[in-house]
């Protein structure tokens, strides 16, 4: 490419400006190349391999393998495990999303009021988002939800109730609580930032016109938050589809398969049962599921890149 451009470069005069432009364009492409090529390899190679493995009879413990056709898929789709794990994934994503939007919006609106110590409150309310998943899962499991020595058990005794054995009786709910505790602050952070860009004059005018707090929330705040909320929904969905560590360190997917979501099922098939073919088929299902969500996310972000760009 280099040589071609050089050959066409006119000797002097009017050509120099064009020549400079062409050189700049080439340099810009050169700066882009490393980032684009590593991402391209990262995007294509592993996924192609997953797809390839998913049609192979391939277990790390049994060297003999070969082409399996759709066997891995039909085994997966015909069994109970996959559907259970998809259902668990949907429940976890849906439940945590609902909690983050409802509680995140309320917290953000509250923190937007002229409270005493608002700066500190804001820090307290977003803190859980920065806690690594293994820490939040183990702290909740052992210090708070433990049926014998946990704080919740003590609270239950205070009001003469029998403590709940969270991880045996309602394991998915327990994991949902932990994950929601991490992600409600994310919604709060994003929505609070969005609220602070809300035009105060408009609020003032509505107030003057006699609109009460509920009307102001309904007709000014909520429409203003519509887009940030949709962004929170989609970003959280991407992350919540991949919840893994919280399950690994608390229930290991159990009891039975009560808390096995799609990522955990693939992990179990691959690294505990060494079934490369089966795990790859599961991975492909996860990719398809994520792509359905991603389709909407990318479209919505693309819409936001309107004439004013990404500003």
């Amino acid at each position: 490419m280099n040589a071609v451009t050089m050959a066409h470069a006119p000797g002097a005069g009017r050509g120099t400006r064009r020549q400079a432009q062409a050189r700049t364009a080439r340099q810009a492409r050169l700066l882009l190349t490393p980032a684009v090529s590593v991402l391209l390899v990262w995007m294509v190679v592993p996924l192609a391999l997953t797809l390839w493995f998913s049609f192979q009879r391939y277990n790390l413990l049994r060297p003999a393998g070969g082409f399996a056709g759709f066997d891995n898929y039909s085994y997966l789709l015909g069994g109970h495990d996959l559907w259970r794990s998809i259902w668990n994934t949907v429940l976890l994503v849906g439940g945590v999303l609902a909690a983050s939007i409802a509680l995140g919006t309320l917290t953000a609106v509250l923190l937007d009021q002229p409270l005493f110590g608002r700066g500190i409150l804001r820090l307290l309310c977003i803190a859980p988002f920065f806690v690594m998943p293994t820490v939040s899962a183990l702290i909740w499991k052992n210090l708070l939800l433990n049926p014998v020595t946990g704080l919740f058990a003590w609270l239950a005794h205070l009001v003469h109730l029998t403590p709940v054995d969270w991880f045996s009786n309602v394991p998915l709910l327990a994991i949902g609580i932990i994950v929601a505790w991490q992600w409600i602050p994310f919604a709060t952070l994003i929505l609070l930032t969005a609220l602070q860009s809300l035009d105060q004059d408009q609020m003032e005018a509505a107030h003057m016109d006699g609109a009460g707090p509920v009307a102001r929330f309904r007709y000014i705040t909520l429409p203003h938050l519509a887009r940030p909320i949709s962004i929170v929904v989609m970003i959280e969905t991407i992350f919540l589809l991949s919840v893994f560590a919280e399950i690994l360190v608390t229930t290991s997917g159990g009891p039975g398969s009560a808390t096995t979501n799609l990522p955990y099922l693939v992990y179990k098939t691959a690294l505990l049962r060494y079934d490369v073919g089966g795990a790859s088929a599961g991975g492909i299902v996860a990719v398809v599921l994520a792509n359905i969500v991603a389709f909407f996310l990318v479209r919505s972000v693309a819409t936001s890149m309107g004439p004013r760009g990404l500003k």
């Binding site: 810009a28 493995f53 009021q113 002229p114 920065f130 702290i139 210090l143 969005a194 360190v249 994520a290």
Partner: protein, 274 residues
């Protein structure tokens, strides 16, 4: 700004502190437990007033274990951040200042690589790592985190670079500054706060990443996320120790997150909210 009546303000404040208190409580309780003895930590009547002991925290740091994993966390998150910036800054510069008709598609494509769930490529990545001898190595983890963070870094940098007035670079170009000179001597200093915010976000994300760290490391290269996960085994159920390790593992990142919350929003939403 409109002034709320004092009584409303007071009651809203009380409500706010209740919400903040509940949200923060698990972290507070973890910090309290980290300065208890193991016996106090499993007491079925929670102790709030006791003589604190800093033995757990001191043991954690002296014992050597914690420092090994913390070192891994630091190396992996800083290494992958440096690599992501090295690849991301030139790319974002090119796209922000020399856009073509394909720039928008390129950005969206980069974003879409983030949509691929890690679990979809777990099997091949694990096998490639095994065959290349990269399992349980820091360099392997740095590579994965770089790839995972690159799209976010590019988007965030792009959004910050667009905020630098074009006229400044234009003027420098008129004065004969070359392509790379503009980037190195003008854009980098002007966009330094944005670059710092980008670096902090990728450090935070790498520090807290758990899927790859748990699946691709075991001991030599295991970062703090994997170390804490080891407390889930039956032999690891010492709650004061767990709390001490957890506190030390999250404190630096919590501090970073608190300092940069506003800039993080831009990165976390791919520039859509700021």
């Amino acid at each position: 700004m409109r002034r709320a009546p004092a009584a409303t303000r007071l009651s809203l404040s009380v409500l706010g502190w209740i919400v903040g208190g509940i949200t923060f409580f698990p972290i507070f309780w973890m910090a309290i437990t980290s300065v208890k003895t193991e016996a106090q930590a499993i007491s079925s009547t929670p102790l709030l007033f006791f003589r604190p002991t800093f033995e757990n925290l001191a043991n954690m740091i002296d014992g050597g274990d914690y420092l090994h994993f913390a070192t891994n966390s630091v190396i992996v998150s800083f290494g992958s951040t440096a690599a992501a910036l090295l690849l991301g800054i030139p790319a974002a510069y090119a796209m922000a200042y020399y856009p073509t008709h394909r720039t928008k598609d390129l950005l969206l494509w980069m974003l879409s690589t983030k949509m691929m769930p890690s679990v979809g490529v777990l099997v091949p990545v694990y096998l490639i790592f095994r065959d290349a001898g990269l399992l349980d190595t820091r360099i392997g983890l740095v590579g994965i985190y770089t790839l995972a963070n690159l799209p976010i870094a590019v988007w965030m940098l792009y959004s910050f670079f667009r905020d630098v007035p074009h006229e400044i670079l234009e003027a420098a170009r008129m004065d004969g500054a070359g392509f790379l000179q503009q980037m190195l001597w003008l854009l980098l200093p002007l966009a330094a706060p944005g670059i710092a915010a980008t670096a902090l976000l990728t450090i935070i994300l790498s520090w807290n990443e758990t899927f790859w760290s748990i699946n691709l490391t075991s001991s030599d290269a295991a970062p703090l996320t994997a170390f804490i996960a080891s407390f889930s085994s039956p032999e690891g159920l010492f709650w004061a120790r767990l709390s001490a390790a957890s506190l030390l593992a999250i404190a630096p990142i919590l501090a970073l997150g608190w300092m940069t919350q506003r800039q993080l929003v831009r990165g976390l939403t791919f520039g859509a909210v700021k």
